[in-house]
Symmetry: C2
């Protein structure tokens, strides 16, 4: 059973992400220690007791398409009612639209738990969050009043409609048309694919946010607008009206997250799907990016969540399964496999990566809260820049490592891991979408280079490097092998990251292929070093707090030491691939026809 790691969550929130300071910011007043603990424990209960038991069922008995309707896995609809009635959809959203108005830092562990319990289920609230963000960002007051409370109450859910068959990573290629009707509404025509929870029976209406082009729009990304297209039209009094002309023609047969229906939506086959513009014409991509930063962060949390779930399952098996004598001859009988060094190495890898990714993501959430709430304008800008720098790393690194962690989860189970009924394989399959959707790892890496490193001349990156240097100094003040290992490898990792940043800044104009050939290695390098930095900060905090809980803090220091010795050294290898290799040489030396 899934046990939410509330101790580690609270430790990270308080000691690394600055919960106390964030609670003092305007809008953070409700995040008292008591409230936060109560929220986390209540979320843990719902996720562990209600949502997790439906996870395997969703895999065995996926969402099912029938004559244009999609039936969710049995049990999901009732669970969804429990979820929204508990107020969980509104945790991070403003109180004026019926949300709870809690900081993102407090919402983040709730998101983690939800995804750890049931990745497929969690996608419905995740996409609804995205729709709410878009409406709050660019909607009129009337639009916000009309849609947001209904989305928070779960009467309706939301979707994001970006992808078309010819327009995946490249939104410039979007072709869906939006024709103005003269009455302020538009009629939309086109096909959208890969629409998560694009059709289902868990709520009374579905609010599709759709990228489309008006007839006068310029070509490319500067001619894309954002529209609201509800499944059922909404009457003036807010009640549901006629069925709109958007229909689900099929759902995909997928490797994982099978309970989450991935819809092909057809707009306008019967006269046109009626929609309304959000914000200004041709600024749709800009709004989408605001919303995507939130969605990308949430997908990064999915990576943390499924990693933790896979770790918990593997750990339980390793403590239970008895096989072989210990290699050190300390027992004559077979022992539980957690006593075998390589099983322990695998578990430590899973744990260290998960804890580091969690810490980095929560710290990013805290930056977002400060970017909104800090009374000082310059400070807000600094926090926003740091949050934006971290988002592609949280998304890209946490999801890539989820592949490794869920794979190790299978491996710990041995042959049983390959048997579907065991359940470890589901996490492995489910996790595989994470580095793909909401922008592949390469798209995150391009964002990290283009918008997040080059645009500010490396300022956000260098501010982070300066902070890491301070942590390296603080480590030097501590005794013992664990701190010495971390000091050494964090310092080497910091140098590697600094070198990669300099390379990106120096070469982006003169040799873009060289820089972009190293883009994913740069993202991974940044993830490893920034994750290692959080583990270093964590071990310093644990050293200070040791007496309060020797078991927890001792484990944290040991896990940090493992990260320093087994994960951080990879930074230097990545630097070689980016910098010494001059990025492109090895990658681009092969001509297309030589592949």
């Amino acid at each position: 059973m899934y046990q939410a790691p509330t101790s580690d969550m609270l430790f990270v929130m308080k000691e690394l992400a600055g919960l106390e300071a964030i609670a003092k910011l305007p809008g953070g007043e409700d995040a008292t220690p008591e409230t936060v603990e109560a929220v986390l424990h209540e979320a843990a209960r719902l996720c562990g007791e209600v949502l997790e038991p439906l996870n395997a069922e969703g895999d065995r008995n996926p969402s099912r398409w029938e004559s244009g309707n999609v039936h969710a896995t049995p049990g999901f609809k009732v669970a969804f009612r429990q979820y929204v009635e508990g107020g969980w959809q509104g945790v991070q959203h403003p109180q004026e639209y019926e949300g709870q108005g809690l900081p993102k830092l407090v919402g983040t562990p709730c998101v983690e738990m939800l995804n750890a319990a049931n990745l497929s289920f969690a996608l419905c609230p995740l996409l609804t969050d995205g729709a709410i963000e878009a409406l709050l960002t660019a909607g009129t007051e009337a639009q916000k009043q009309r849609f947001v409370p209904k989305l928070i109450s779960g009467d309706w859910t939301g979707t994001m409609n970006l992808t078309e068959p010819q327009a995946g990573s490249d939104l410039a290629a979007v072709r869906t048309r939006a024709e103005p009707q003269g009455d302020g509404t538009f009629k939309l025509f086109g096909t959208k694919i890969f629409i998560t929870w694009g059709e289902h029976d868990m709520a009374g209406n579905i609010v599709h946010l759709v990228l489309a082009r008006t007839p006068t729009a310029p070509e490319g990304v500067k001619g894309i607008s954002l529209f609201i297209v509800p499944k059922f039209l909404i009457n003036e009094d807010g009640t549901l009206g006629a069925r709109n002309d958007v229909h689900c023609v099929s759902i995909e047969h997928k490797l994982g997250i099978k309970a989450s229906p991935t819809a092909v939506l057809q707009f306008g086959d019967h006269g046109g799907a009626i929609g309304q513009l959000i914000g200004e014409e041709n600024r749709g991509l800009e709004y989408m990016f605001i919303m995507m930063n939130a969605a990308r962060f949430a997908v990064g949390m999915q990576g943390v969540a499924v990693s933790d779930r896979a770790y918990q399952k593997a750990l339980a098996y390793a403590k239970e399964r008895v096989q072989s004598r210990p290699v050190d001859g300390s027992a004559k009988a077979a022992v539980s496999i957690i006593h075998h060094p390589d099983v322990r190495r695998m578990l430590a890898t899973m744990r260290a990566l998960t804890e580091a990714a969690r810490a980095l993501a929560y710290v990013a959430a805290g930056e977002s809260d400060r970017a909104h709430g800090d009374p000082d304008e310059a400070a807000r800008a600094r926090h926003q820049a740091r949050y934006e720098y971290l988002v592609p790393i949280v998304k890209g690194w946490s999801t890539e490592l989820a592949l490794e962690v869920t794979s190790l989860g299978v491996q710990v189970h041995g042959g049983m891991g390959f048997i579907e009924e065991t359940g470890a394989a589901q996490f492995y399959r489910d996790a595989r979408i994470l580095p793909i959707y909401e922008g592949t790892t390469a798209i995150q890496a391009n964002d990290l280079i283009g918008r997040k490193t080059l645009r500010d001349g490396g300022a956000a990156a260098r501010a982070l490097l300066a902070d890491i240097a301070q942590t390296v100094d603080a480590l030097a003040g501590q005794q013992g092998a664990a701190f010495e290992s971390m000091r050494r490898h964090l310092a080497l990792g910091r140098e590697a990251l600094a070198s990669a940043v300099n390379f990106v800044l120096a070469k982006a104009k003169s040799d873009p292929n060289a820089v972009f050939a190293g883009s994913v290695p740069y993202l991974k390098l940044a993830g490893i070093v920034l994750g290692g930095w959080q583990m270093a900060r964590a071990m310093l905090a644990s050293q200070r707090l040791m007496q309060t809980d020797p078991k927890f803090h001792g484990a944290k220091i040991a896990t940090a030491q493992f990260f320093a010795q087994h994960v951080l050294p990879q930074a230097v290898a990545l630097e070689v691939a980016i910098v010494s290799a001059n990025g492109s040489e090895g990658v681009l030396a092969l001509a297309e026809d030589q592949f």
Copy 2:
């Protein structure tokens, strides 16, 4: 469609594995260049035209259990007849038992093609090969005459029955009983699980090789004997007799290789399954290890095979799928995605890992041939030691990298990769068993440390290190960035491997937990350095041969350069995890109850 990479196969066989010299050894006479090319091209045809088209069908329509019988995927039975009638089961087996008697080096590319085309199908011949090896190793002449020709002709197939519910990695825990009947036969009682192709309808009989204990057997691994238990008993005249008391009670529902039935076999529920001993009582594990070296090598080839198949599929998609403009602004329109640097990096990674793993495996096959055929006894021993050192690396490294390569194969496809109909996901699922069965990667790593490094005091490892040093010197004699990169990173990798070997030798007795905590990192380090060594040898050969085929040899040098810059640098990071971390500290600092 699968196109066997015959150019690279022949290059590796001739330039790296010494085909010409092996053809001059006793027993190698038939391996003339013309014969070898003909064999490879014929195998390529069969695999590409007959077996590969059945691969997706096997995934959609797996083997099916019904009242104790297992029906293979439609089409498999006919294809199996074609396979055995072409003589493919006997390629590597002696002519005196109706085999073709070709060197292992020539059989190996055939094994690769078979597995690349259809991993599930290929498992049936793979297990039959194992049974043949066991019979040839330990069987009486009568047993060989009775069983081997029928196994080579495909009238019968073979299985290996090791695992029991409580005895997976730990064969000491085997409980299946074998009771002597006084007439030279035994009756077997017990349950075996995870028996690949343990029941099916593709052949007239199934020859189970079963590990079991006689009543007087000592405890543990020294009390295990090996038995032949055919599904149908065999009359004196060689015709099939009564149905034996071994029954398939179920097959598993698996993550991948779904067409390959994984059987639970019940022995003796109706009076006892009649079997005969192979070789001497209580020496079963020893025979099994001989056979397992062959089977483990073959599973390593499965890793190479599915990696190549995933690469070919991703490459075809990358050349076809058009998305986004190039980052260097060289075109105003969207281009095929192979023009994007990160897609090219992914493809280069897939290609470099696959080529290196292929080269290392073929070189190992050549060592096996020399170990059998070299006229000089000391030379035979040296080649045998090298082959045995390489087997766990070929098995462990090639299968672990297959996870990375098949995962990249999904990633190159973007969202389409997650849709089952695309086919990339099948390779990802299928590959996941490879680092588990025939001994997990940890079991391979324990073998590498225990039997292959410690037992000879590091002699085999040091002989390899000396040969690598010679290649480093040869690289220094070449001009250009590619050779300089390889020289630098192969030298660093060699030092890292030497350091790990010294650590293993120095600490195994005094601190076995420290050594075994670094066992899998040591195996991966050895794979990376030895694979890199083969890429270095390949680039030297390609430089010499450049004029004969500039496109092929230019690609080889560029791929080797990529390996040097993107893969070899990981060796240094692994050395830190093994040596500087003193193996155990980070891994074992966490007590069981702190996990």
